[in-house]
Symmetry: C2
Subunit: 123 residues, 2 copies
DNA sequence: AATACAATTAAACGGTTGCTTAATTATAGG
DNA sequence: CCTATAATTAAGCAACCGTTTAATTGTATT
């Protein structure tokens, strides 16, 4: 393992020695803060799903219209909507033959905006 | 395609008719706003990577320490760091035999916080 | 030089994922 | 009751992804 990054006596330094078992365990405990977080990001990791979510942030749409705008097959879109539904990111209402979807959670818009800001900084 | 969701004459309604080619094209144009965004989310979609990024938000660490804390093989960790490097999310400096990594972008912390807030709301 | 350790890279394998085609359910209209 | 349209579901397939093992590079030590 690595040696201490802090010189002996340099206790003003905020960093811990990762080679010490105590610090290692402390860091492991902190990891619980982000447990399961990647699951949400996994939903957003597909281009089609971010497009669907962004469309729904603009207006309510039925499945066939989403498919039309995205130029995709209906089953493919339905497949993604099912996943978004399972994660409580979208809600739906039936109106005759159509089923209209809309956002169920505004956090998503915030995540998308933040990601946009990331790219906006010349990356 | 779907019929208009707005009754004729109800032009106070903010929603557009998605079945009209003009609206369809307008929506398609808006999609450019989120083009490529999922790529960033894809990086965060892996649990190991979110854990690495969160660890690095706490303190600078070398590869073998990350591997130790996460209880993973060195090549596996290195593999992920390579991807994070390619996306300019982490930076590194060599110090002797070790290579120390740290966050290169604070946006990531914001994204993680926002995702945490999402789950904090009883979902 | 030679050895040891940290890190990276490459190849290969197993699991996951997203799309397609086909079949099924649901609702509206003739 | 039958047909047509919207949507969902299921099965199958190709592509992608993360890990492992093994080999290679780089740096420090003796």
């Amino acid at each position: 393992m690595a040696e201490a990054t802090v010189q002996p006596g340099a206790d003003y330094c905020a960093t811990y020695d990762p080679s010490s078992p105590a610090t290692r365990d402390a860091l492991r405990e902190r990891l619980l803060d982000v447990a399961g977080l990647s699951e949400l990001f996994k939903v957003l990791s597909d281009e089609t799903r971010t497009r669907i979510l962004y469309l729904l942030s603009l207006q309510e749409l039925c499945v066939c219209d989403i498919a039309d705008v995205l130029d995709m097959s209906l089953p493919a879109v339905s497949h993604h909507l099912r996943l978004l539904k399972a994660h409580r990111l979208v809600k739906y209402r039936r109106e005759g033959k159509q089923v209209y979807y809309s956002l169920d959670d505004d956090h998503i818009v915030g995540l998308i905006s933040l990601a946009q800001a990331h790219y906006a900084e010349g990356r």
